[in-house]
């Protein structure tokens, strides 16, 4: 069974049809790239999956239909995401941002928290340790106690990536994680993505404009244009597909 299956996903805002009949399925430990020109509806697909937009059609997570559930419910099931502009909590430190990502996993209640009872303290320590593992995995040790607002944009994006990972998701939705990163940071990101795939076995839906990265890393591609699926398959075949070339890639003119 596929980890995540999307069937005939359609999204309308009034008279505007943003997505029409998009279908695909992602397997465990699969790196599934979603590409297409600006305005094709890539981010809308992610917003529908994470419950921020009300799409029509079925979205199944491990066989369970999740369309119509509230966003925080979907996040708790194990679908985490990053955002195009990082969208971190600027007043918090990196470690606090990641701890916030673990919100749904922390088992305390406000009454116990008021008195910071022993169980609250134990939970905080446990989850701080879990956060440290992520910090170690994503190599953010230098920054763990730095307020996010003081970090350069590239690092902020990586922190957003780490925050999604801190949720211990089954599926990771990555919305242009490489945009705004410099070459070194991109290489780091590619390494993290591959380690997540191989070591953690998390399925990833990855929106990306860097075609070199997509061709090198992704297992399968899905191409959108004006809210419709144009092609799907392995990078080798899809990137040579004449429809994809005319819709998105364009021809090299020398």
């Amino acid at each position: 069974m596929a980890e995540l299956e999307i069937e005939k996903l359609t999204l309308r805002f009034g008279g505007l049809t943003v997505l029409s009949g998009v279908s695909f399925a992602v397997d465990k430990a699969e790196l599934f790239a979603l590409i297409g020109p600006n305005g094709a509806g890539k981010t809308s697909v992610l917003n529908c999956i994470s419950g921020l937009y009300p799409g029509e059609g079925a979205i199944r997570f491990r066989g369970q239909n999740i369309s119509g559930l509230s966003a925080h419910h979907i996040a708790r099931l194990g679908i985490a995401r990053t955002f195009q502009h990082g969208e971190l909590f600027p007043h918090m430190t990196v470690a606090e941002n990641l701890l916030t990502g673990r919100h749904a996993r922390i088992r305390t209640n406000p009454l116990k928290e008021m008195f910071f009872s022993r169980s609250v303290r134990r939970e905080e320590v446990t989850h701080r340790e879990a956060v440290e593992k992520i910090i170690d995995f994503i190599e953010l040790e230098r920054y763990r106690n730095v307020q996010v607002a003081n970090l350069p944009f590239g690092i902020q994006k990586i922190v957003g990536f780490a925050r999604a990972l801190a949720m211990e998701p089954a599926i990771l939705l990555l919305d242009e994680p490489s945009a705004g990163l410099n070459r070194d940071e991109r290489e780091d990101l590619a390494r993290f993505i591959l380690r997540i795939k191989h070591e953690l076995g998390i399925a990833m839906i990855w929106i990306e404009h860097d075609m070199q990265m997509v061709a090198d890393l992704s297992d399968r591609l899905h191409v959108l244009e004006y809210g419709r699926s144009v092609a799907e398959g392995s990078p080798d075949t899809v990137l040579k597909d004449p429809r994809v070339i005319s819709a998105y890639l364009g021809r090299a003119t020398i």
């Binding site: 925080h72 969208e87 916030t100 990502g101 749904a104 305390t108 609250v120």
Partner: protein, 360 residues
């Protein structure tokens, strides 16, 4: 949050538990003990007037800490604070007058009433934001004050409800010195509860909601539930402050809870510094003492007597000017000034903090 950095040089944490402590170093313990000793000796050297000021500051501090949780941390604007204080005061007053209820019943009752009102008047926050939410909380103020006024006139207490000095066991709380310690204890407990909430899951969820509601939702935070929780906890604390206020004054009447009181509380958290509990306390001190400082200053003017009648007008004007000055020149409030002074001495003889990447 940033107040949890270690201060002493050469101090390194060796466990995560250490990072959770409110007080980490021996220096901080010493400072706290000295501060507590100063608070403990104050009533024995202060005049009765100064004691009254201190009690007023403690009452205001409970209210401003509560509002800071709601507005400064959870990001929900409220102009209904005076209404909640009134609700607490009337709960205590009515329970005392009608049933002769004791202090240990009326205070928890005020907390429960506050929590319920918070739950109901928190509901608009699920749909409204910012200014619109503020206007909806105004309704709370007018409803409570109207109901309080109705009670007063219907029951024939049109000048207000008199409340006897409360009693805890055999201890009659009438003397200002005893009041000082009782109110100090309540303020300290409010502060501790708030500190604890803010360093755990709920506090982070509030901060997340304040910066990005959608993102918070996508991280698995139940945004509506946490907003309501902020309203419930803040309102409950405020109502307790109101009940204490009623006992302290020995008297409840609607006139004490004007809209200006709500604005004063908003001023406390702005002048003190948004998003800081220390700011809430500094703001409470500043706003409570401001009228007295003005009165004192006016006393030095030539022909001081002739200004006596205009003092109220002076107060309002000065209040407005101070608010504007803070918003324009020190948006981080008193706590911003405090941090700058602190940094100056911490960094001396250097001027700048090291840039991101190293320890803050």
């Amino acid at each position: 949050m940033s107040s949890r950095e270690p201060r002493a040089s050469g101090y390194f944490r060796s466990s995560y538990d250490q990072g959770l402590r409110l007080i980490e170093t021996r220096m901080q313990w010493t400072a706290l003990m000295l501060f507590l000793a100063a608070l403990g000796t104050f009533p024995f050297i202060a005049t009765s007037f100064q004691l009254d000021l201190a009690c007023q500051v403690f009452l205001a501090a409970i209210g401003s800490i509560a509002l800071m949780l709601l507005t400064g941390y959870a990001g929900q604007v409220s102009l209904g604070h005076a209404g909640l204080i009134a609700a607490g005061a009337f709960t205590a007053g009515i329970l005392f007058k009608e049933f002769g209820a004791a202090f240990w019943i009326t205070i928890p009752a005020a907390a429960v009433v506050g929590a319920l009102i918070g739950l109901i008047f928190g509901l608009p926050s699920l749909r409204l934001r910012g200014l619109y939410l503020a206007v909806s909380t105004l309704a709370l103020h007018f409803i409570v004050v109207y109901l309080g006024g109705e009670y007063e006139t219907k029951r024939g207490f049109s000048t207000g409800i008199m409340i006897d000095a409360p009693r805890i066991g055999d201890l009659l709380i009438r003397d200002r010195k005893i009041w000082y310690f009782v109110l100090l204890a309540f303020a300290a407990v409010s502060l501790l509860i708030s500190l604890n909430l803010l360093r755990s899951r709920t506090g982070r969820a509030w901060a997340a909601i304040r910066s990005h509601e959608t993102i918070a939702e996508a991280l698995g935070i139940g945004v509506p539930a946490h907003k309501l929780l902020a309203f419930v906890i803040s309102s409950s604390m405020t109502a307790v402050a109101g009940a204490l206020f009623a006992y302290y004054r020995g008297f409840v009447s609607v006139e004490a809870f004007s809209l200006f009181l709500s604005i004063q509380y908003v001023a406390m958290i702005i002048i003190g510094g948004m998003g800081s509990l220390l700011g809430a306390i500094l703001g409470a001190i500043f706003v409570t003492l401001l009228p007295y400082m003005i009165e004192y200053a006016v006393g030095f003017l030539p022909n001081a007597r002739s200004y006596a009648g205009m003092l109220a007008a002076f107060n309002y004007a000065a209040f407005g000017i101070v608010m504007i000055l803070f918003l324009v020149f020190e948006p981080q409030g008193l706590v911003g000034i405090w941090r700058r002074v602190q940094n100056y001495f911490l960094l001396w003889p250097f001027k700048q903090k090291p840039l991101g990447g190293s320890r803050k």
